[in-house]
């Protein structure tokens, strides 16, 4: 008699070491899994809830300045180093991992207006209200040595903005005009003027490194090419632009922070109309910085909040605030895309997470997988109302909340009035002007 027995290959169900996961044979036949959608929905809902519960973006506050923090600079070579300049002319170098100040120097007489680290990371430049540009060594002076700048340039006027070229010994300042300086010379190698007498910021394009953008007090944004003798073009907006920041991944895009509570993303080839208007702040936007991936940027505002925008979205993805943080003057996105640094009026520098609910530190591979999976789930079900409701909930301080409502009402009223005017006037005489076009006054060639 022949006896038939079930026989299985142990390779199919025995794990090789005890550190492996148990092998679970699965049948992926979809007809056997009728409730897959509802199960995933529940998972997504739970993941969203946990994300909101774990959303604690504030990490640390670096305190030590004796006046408002006016400018920040990222180190170009070291992630853990941060430089900050305050309104009393003091510059501090911070170690971010230890949350402590490693060096303090009295750089200028008045405000430190701008600061930038040279691309090699060995020295940095500061400008101040005392009409000087100073170059400092990154290393602290040895014992007994005096704290002295490597180089000092006396200017004729006050400088208000500073930026360094990405790979040449050339930097740009702005004040009454935009100057391009060679590090070796004490006079600018080129200066640009175009009917404006005060600029607030100047930035080099990180990709097309010879291009510059600057914001002027006549509400205009002016573009330059370092190689040309004249500016390229300017666009005049309804309100003044405070700073601008180029997208590090898109050579022709830049975002500017405006006084009218909005941020505008422009394509430098088509200045007639911004690509996107980013609204949400309830007061003037003072600074903006792109994430190194070029997908998002962070903005600092006079309304005491920090907001994170996606470059393609008109509204913010995140809002950060604390009780004690006053007007945020400067903001930086760290080079590893994980942190945000903000300097504010009340003398503190704050360290935030770029993703509020992200777990810090090294993740085990399986942990990483879970995080990725839940991320995907959240993405997949993001349009379902219950999930969306939870994912979008944010707490706002009372005054900002009310201000926001007020602004909304004002806007709605304006819109209604315009509609009524249009309705009661000759067709075509009151044209529909889109939000994007509304804020651009003219483009000057």
């Amino acid at each position: 008699m022949k006896v038939q027995v079930l026989s299985r290959n142990p390779d199919d169900y025995v794990r090789e070491t005890k550190h492996d996961i148990q092998r679970v044979p699965r049948n992926y036949d979809p007809s056997l899994h009728p409730f897959e959608v509802s199960r995933e929905y529940t998972r997504a809902l739970n993941a969203t809830k946990l994300e909101r519960v774990f959303a604690k973006p504030f990490l640390a506050s670096l305190d030590g300045h004796r006046d408002g923090v006016n400018c920040l600079a990222k180190h170009t070579r070291s992630l853990s180093t941060l430089l900050s300049g305050s309104c009393d002319g003091e510059v501090k170098v911070w170690n971010l991992t230890k949350h402590e100040c490693v060096r303090t120097l009295q750089a200028h007489g008045g405000f430190v207006r701008g600061m930038v680290v040279r691309y090699c990371g060995n020295s940095f430049f500061t400008i101040g209200d005392d009409k000087t540009i100073k170059q400092w060594k990154m290393e602290a002076p040895g014992y007994g040595e005096e704290e002295e700048p490597l180089n000092t340039i006396l200017g004729k006027t006050v400088f208000t903005g500073l930026d360094h070229h990405q790979k040449k010994g050339v930097f740009a300042t702005c004040g009454q005009q935009v100057d391009i300086w060679d590090e070796q010379r004490s006079t600018p190698i080129r200066s640009f003027t175009w009917g404006v007498d005060s600029f607030s910021s100047v930035r080099f394009n990180p990709v097309e490194t010879e291009l510059l953008g600057s914001c002027a007090s006549d509400r205009s944004i002016v573009l330059y090419d370092m190689r040309e003798s004249t500016p390229l073009k300017k666009v005049i907006m309804t309100m003044r632009t405070n700073t601008l920041c180029w997208n590090p991944m898109e050579a022709y895009c830049f975002t500017c922070a405006n006084e009218d509570y909005n941020l505008y993303t422009y394509d430098m080839r088509h200045l007639e109309k911004p690509i996107k208007v980013h609204m949400d702040h309830v007061s003037a936007v003072l600074d903006v910085d792109y994430s190194p991936t070029g997908q998002e940027f962070v903005s600092a505002s006079f309304d005491k909040t920090i907001r994170i925008f996606s470059k393609d979205d008109g509204h913010s993805r995140e809002v950060y605030h604390t009780k004690r943080m006053q007007h945020v003057i400067c903001i930086k996105w760290s080079a590893d895309n994980k942190y945000i640094l903000s300097g504010s009026d009340e003398m503190n520098i704050r360290l935030w997470k770029a993703n509020a609910a992200e777990k810090l530190g090294v993740l085990a591979p399986r942990e990483r997988e879970v995080v990725n999976y839940s991320q995907k789930l959240k993405e997949k079900f993001q349009h379902h109302p219950q999930i969306r409701r939870i994912a979008r909930h944010r707490h706002l301080p009372k005054n900002i909340y009310h201000q926001k409502n007020e602004l909304r009402i004002m806007k709605e009223a304006r819109r209604r009035k315009e509609m009524n005017v249009r309705k009661h006037s000759k067709p075509g005489s009151v044209p529909v002007v889109s939000e994007k076009e509304k804020h651009v006054v003219s483009v000057v060639k």
Partner: protein
Amino acid sequence: MARVSRKNGNKNKLKGRCSVPLVGLGDQQLLYEEEEVSIDRVEEDIISSEEDEVEHERKRQKLLEGISTLGGKRKRAQGERSEAAVHMSEFSVNTDGGPGKVKLSDLIGSLEKSPAVPAKSRQQLKNLQRIKKTINSPLSKEETERIQRDMAFQKAASEVSRWDSIITQNQRAEQLLFPLSQEPAGPRPVERLVAGWNVQTPLEQEIFALLSANKQPFTDPILTPAEEASVRAMSLEEAKIRRAELQKARALQSYYEAKARRDRKIKSKKYHKVQIKAKRKEFLKHFEQMAKTDPAAALQELNKMELARMQERMSLKHQNSSKWAKSKAIMAKYDEEARKAMQQQLEMNRQLTQKLVTPLNDDYEQEEGDAGETDLLLDFVNDAVDGRDASNPWMKGKLTEEPTQKQLNDMTTEAAQVVSTVAAEEEELEAEETEEEALLREFDSNRRLHQAQESDIAGGVFLEEMTEDRAAAEDSEASDCLSEFTITSRGREKSFKDTEVFNCADFTDGSAQLDERLVRIRTVEDLELLHHDSSAEPRHPPTAKDPPSEEKHMGKSKKKKGIELKEVLTKETNVIKVPLTPTVTDSDDAESKLDQRELIKEAFAGDDVISSFLKDKRRQEDEGKPKVIDLTLPGWGEWGGMGLKPPKRKRKRFRVKSAPPPPRKDQHLPSVIISEKRNTSLSLHQVHSLPFPFEDHGQFESCIRSPLGRTWNTEETVKKWCHQTPEFGSPSWGPSLVPWLRRNC
């Protein structure tokens, strides 16, 4: 001093000759004297008679020049280049140059004699001599700068545009890994390793001091500074390219300048006339095109033209009131040409002040005409249909014509006939069908009411309702699986154009907007509370969207006294994309009118709408009724065998009758089917509008339906799907993040 005295003598002579006091000249002379005094004090004794004569001659010349300039304004002394004087004094520098201006012929006189000069250049020189034009003055500074800026910008823009392909590629990529291009693995070149290394021991220091003193390389052991400099220096080809570029730029600039200058300078009126005419022609052509493609812009242009016309009328520029016109009018009697000119002028005026009959208006009128035609045709069609199917009152609707009283009367009689015919035809049906008749009658009366109330709208609206009903019925049948997560389409009301625009600006983004509240979330319980809050009052789509649709509702309910479909029919319906007669008469919307014929055909594609609707409804009702469940098990508790039947007692006992369902909502609504299948508690969890990147419902549903987790997918697939976006491998250092972006390091 002798010279001075001589001059004084001269002056006296002059004064003697022309007794007129020459004030200006005298001043000049005086000045001159002083200079001379200061310079020529040394040479007192040297006087030659020849020189004296020459001097004399020169003075005379000067005097004549002075007199000639007296009348006009004093000319600015022109900067003039001149050769040294023919007669040079070896003791003094003669400021006035020679006797006359230096001419080209003076300079090249020697050239012609020498045989070494080629004939070609001789010819060129001759040509040069012939040309007597002065060189053009350059354009103004502002203009030049603008041209320069423009050119620089275009150059920069084209340079930047080179990234386009890379950027779009990155945007479309599913996942970006940063840094985008990593350093190649393997041993690094020595020089890079050495760069980070510091000198420490005294020996090393000495060595490096020596090296640096001799300008020998130590960080980059390949090239000395001199070599580097030579490398860095431009190669010949580069220099050529650069030169060519510069040349091109210069040529372009000069071209622009020349063009601008030419245009500005041309005085010919005829040329300008022709130019203007050509421009106008071009514009008209362009305008016609624009009227077809972009009517909004065309309208603007039209407005501009209108404005120009008004200005012309206001200014009366080409009327016969100007000085010129008056003079011509006098001349016109005798002179043929003057008459012609006047006529031309008047013609011009007529042209300019003529009110434009625009192509847009033409189109519009034409379309109206077309619409009228279609209307006529429509009636004809309807009449034909009339005879074919009498039972269907929809088939004989006069859609666009207002029914007169007579017609109405006709209708009523007709309706009566219809009812009777229906009754005759459906005799074989059971007694329930009488209900149907009643319904039909109601329909008909409804219809008549409608026609009385509104002229052309009713048909369209009703038609729409009908189709919607049917769609709803079908829908409710079809969709039962996956109902939780399928999205329900909602036929949105066409809102006002401007609100749409506003929404575009605000609420398209609004979908991504944060929901900022005063509540802080700390635990999951808070979230639950939040959850309930929202479920208590489900968030409406943005408030700004609502009012127009509400208004519309109001309007509709005012129009119809009957039951409002939208209020009663809670089941969402599919939008059928068949252009119907517009519910609001929109004279601009000519296309829909044109399509009406096809539309009607399509709508009544040879079927009886009402009866099928009623059948549908009955079927729905039947489905909703509870069914008797028979739980008898034949053979249970009994002896089995062939042809066994459970006894009646058992059958009765094991038949379960469930309680009758609550009365249907649509039982008193003849023209409506209300689906009872909809579960309102689910709607809170459902997606109500199609989210952005998806183009149709099927796409979205399939996206939701495919699971992501490893319970349903193999490990490989899960890994492929669930990755971080964007992944950030190692920290990036500012610009070096984009090494792929750096071309010319």
